[in-house]
């Protein structure tokens, strides 16, 4: 069980020289990143730069092979943990492409997941009534239909419902570090605001968020403490909120050119 007190100075996640391959192709080529409690980090990058590889590797997806480097979570070796152990330690991944689970209802699924997490934290199973109340409340906040929790997970959900359902899970499971993998893509502006509200609500001194996105649009609603630019498997530039705006104005080519001409700014 982890202690969950707020600590702004102690790093929650430390990624050091991370190399990840899928099959024989190396996608992350020495990535460095430190996330402290209370912080929101945005990782931006063009298609194919390795954004999803980073989140999937951190969550422990089997086909993502870590060939070099290390990842510490609260000082513990994250890479040794099974995906479910990472989840129980407080890591959560909102999927870019949520998976359909036919015949498994949202409500039962989340209840089973929450029980597993609570057991790991040494807590009792909460009452069913409280759980249902919490679920209903969070679903309402996210503008999800009440009936959705009775449906099979992600089956027949619209694109927007799938993304909001990921955030619903985050709100209910209450992790410590949320990895949001392009949660903003495919959302219309109203849904984007609803999701951003939920993310802002989640943002607390004892939590951290790693938000991966192609566009800076969501950053208008969720203000990051740090923005990192990921190109070709490495973070090539880091800065504040302004970096995202500059990227939007000048495009990724601008950064790529800057990097190639040797003006890399390290983290």
């Amino acid at each position: 069980m982890t202690s969950r007190g707020a600590n702004h100075n102690r790093p929650l996640l430390e990624v050091r020289d991370l190399h990840v391959s899928v099959g024989s192709v190396e996608i992350l080529k020495g990535l460095n990143l430190t996330v402290n409690l209370g912080e929101v980090h945005a990782v931006m990058g063009p298609n194919g730069s390795g954004k999803s590889t980073l989140t999937n590797a951190l969550a422990g997806k089997p086909e993502y092979a870590v060939t070099e480097g290390k990842v510490l979570y609260r000082g513990k070796n994250l890479l040794e943990m099974l995906p479910e152990e990472r989840a129980r330690e407080g890591l959560f991944l909102a999927f870019q492409y949520p998976v359909e689970l036919p015949g498994i209802r949202v409500r039962e699924f989340l209840r089973t997941a929450l029980d597993a997490l609570r057991e790991h934290r040494g807590l009792d199973k909460g009452s069913l009534r409280e759980f249902n109340k919490l679920l209903q409340e969070k679903a309402k906040e996210l503008g999800l239909d009440e009936e959705l929790v009775k449906r099979s997970v992600n089956e027949g959900f619209s694109g927007g419902e799938k993304k909001r359902h990921e955030i619903l899970q985050m709100a209910v499971l209450d992790p410590e570090l949320a990895l949001l993998d392009e949660t903003d893509s495919g959302l219309d502006i109203d849904a984007l605001k609803v999701v951003a509200d939920a993310v802002n609500k989640f943002r607390k001194p004892d939590k951290a968020i790693l938000l991966v996105t192609h566009y800076q649009r969501i950053l208008n609603y969720v203000t990051p403490d740090f923005v990192h630019v990921l190109i070709d498997g490495r973070i090539v530039r880091s800065g504040g909120r302004d970096l995202a705006l500059e990227l939007e104005a000048k495009g990724y080519e601008w950064i790529r050119d800057a990097v190639e001409s040797g003006r890399e700014i390290s983290v």
Binding site: A59, G60, K61, P62, L82, P83, E84, R86, A87, R88, F92, L93, F95, P98, V99, E100, L101, P102, G103, I104, F109, L110, T112, A113, A116, L117, H120, S152, Q169, L173
Partner: protein, 444 residues
């Protein structure tokens, strides 16, 4: 088709004893039917699995043909308490229990108002409605197993729901084989006549008690009069080494509705042959099935739906979960006859393969001889999706729990539709209990 005569000798010898000792007191028309059925059986012989014989292409019944199963002249015994705890059960259901094919009055209990009785008893009395309907839908020309069952037709269930009548609670027909000395065969026979605008919920359970090989050759005929509604469940929980061939024929009149769910736990060879004939406008059938096979089991579902008239509707949704080196077959055809316009038919068979060595042959087909119809079919076979497992694990579920949920989720798409709650809970438990056999190492 020629067969080695030895494959019939056992049955011929048994038939003589059967006619002399067991069936002697039956009516003359029945005696004649049996004689004709036996002659038909010896003429056609057991079917052969081979190309060209579409009905039996993927199922080799040689182990049955060569099994020398004998007719159990002595009635077997089953402990009531054990029966109660082993099969789906509710004290609220009416039930007729048959042991080795013979009615057990001690284990049966039929509520007031239900005309459900032992077929042997009914045949000794006036014989109606058995005389009118018996053998009319499953004919001795159907195949060797139908002929063989008919040759030995004696006991089973006769259910008659009169016009506008309804049974206030589900009726459970329980066919049990109690293993005795040597391999035995039983010939359960069920005849259900639901007169016009009647309603009935019927559960047929076939189960084995005790180790060993045996053979169940069952025939069920169900007739639905105008506007009748029959909800039917068929639960197969034969012993792992048993052989089961079940033939069901359903005949639907105008505006009648037949809903059926099959739950089949695997056995050495299990064959479920179902034909629903939508023989009048407005008739519809909804057929669902879930089959679970493990080890070297073999289950063959052969389902045909015959749309003979306009404005008829059918839906078929079968699912299989296969482990080990087991083999499942799904076959059958939706026929739309000339003139059966506005027929609306869908059939789908989905399979979940838990092992590389499990195999499924799924061949749903359509034969359409009418215009202006809406028909579709599909079959799939796949393994547990790695993406789904990973997704669940990122929510904190361990691999075992994730697997159990995925497999049960797959099954629930059929089981959730079971409207009789104690039965649904029972089938859910049976599925859970089967998981360690389906996927060794899995803890349910």
């Amino acid at each position: 088709m020629t067969q080695a005569p030895t494959k019939h000798d056992r049955y011929l010898a048994d038939f003589e004893g059967f006619e002399r000792d067991v069936a002697a007191r039956g009516p003359e028309w029945l005696h004649e039917l049996r004689q004709r059925a036996l002659a038909r059986f010896t003429e056609v012989g057991f079917p052969t699995a081979r190309r060209g014989n579409e009905r039996w292409k993927y199922t080799n019944i040689n182990p049955i043909a060569e099994g020398t199963f004998s007719y159990p002249f002595a009635a077997g015994e089953v402990d009531g308490e054990r029966l109660h705890t082993s099969i789906p059960w509710s004290d609220d259901w009416s039930r007729l229990v048959f042991v080795n094919g013979l009615h057990s009055a001690a284990l049966s209990s039929v509520g007031v108002g239900a005309d459900a009785r032992s077929l042997a008893e009914a045949l000794r009395a006036d014989g109606q409605p058995a005389r009118e309907h018996l053998g009319r839908y499953v004919t001795i020309e159907d195949d060797a197993f139908a002929a063989l069952n008919t040759a030995f037709v004696h006991d089973g269930a006769l259910v008659h729901v009169p016009k506008n009548g309804s049974l206030d609670r589900p009726l459970h027909l329980v066919y049990v084989t109690a293993a005795g000395a040597g391999p035995t065969v039983s010939y359960p026979r069920t005849l259900v006549v639901a007169e016009s605008h009647s309603r009935l919920t019927l559960i047929e359970t076939y189960a084995g008690f005790g180790e060993g090989r045996y053979f169940t050759d069952a025939v069920t005929e169900i007739v639905l009069g105008e506007g009748a509604q029959v909800q039917h469940y068929r639960v197969l929980m034969e012993e792992p080494d048993a052989f089961h061939v079940g033939i069901t024929r359903v005949h639907l009149e105008r505006d009648s509705t037949f809903t059926s769910t099959l739950f089949a736990r695997g056995c050495a060879i299990g064959r479920n042959d179902l034909l629903a004939t939508l023989d009048a406008p407005g008739s519809s059938c909804f057929l669902r099935g879930l089959y679970l096979t493990s080890g070297s089991q073999h289950v063959d579902n052969y389902v045909n739906i015959d749309h003979t008239q306009p404005h008829t509707t059918s839906r078929l949704y079968y699912k299989g979960i296969l482990g080990g080196k087991s083999h499942a077959v799904f076959g059958g055809t939706v026929f739309v006859r000339p003139g059966a316009v506005k027929a609306d038919a869908r059939q789908e068979d989905k399979n979940l393969l838990l092992s590389d060595e499990a195999e499924v042959d799924s061949k749903p087909s359509l034969e359409i001889y009418a215009d202006d119809v809406l028909c579709g079919h599909g079959a799939t076979a796949g393994t547990v999706a790695d993406d789904a497992l990973f997704y669940m694990r990122t929510r904190g579920l361990d691999l075992n729990t994730a697997m159990v949920h995925l497999i049960k989720g797959f099954a629930s798409e059929v089981l959730d539709k079971v409207e009789v709650e104690p039965l649904r809970l029972s089938l859910d438990r049976l599925t859970t209990a089967s998981l360690p056999e389906l996927q060794p190492g899995l803890v349910s």
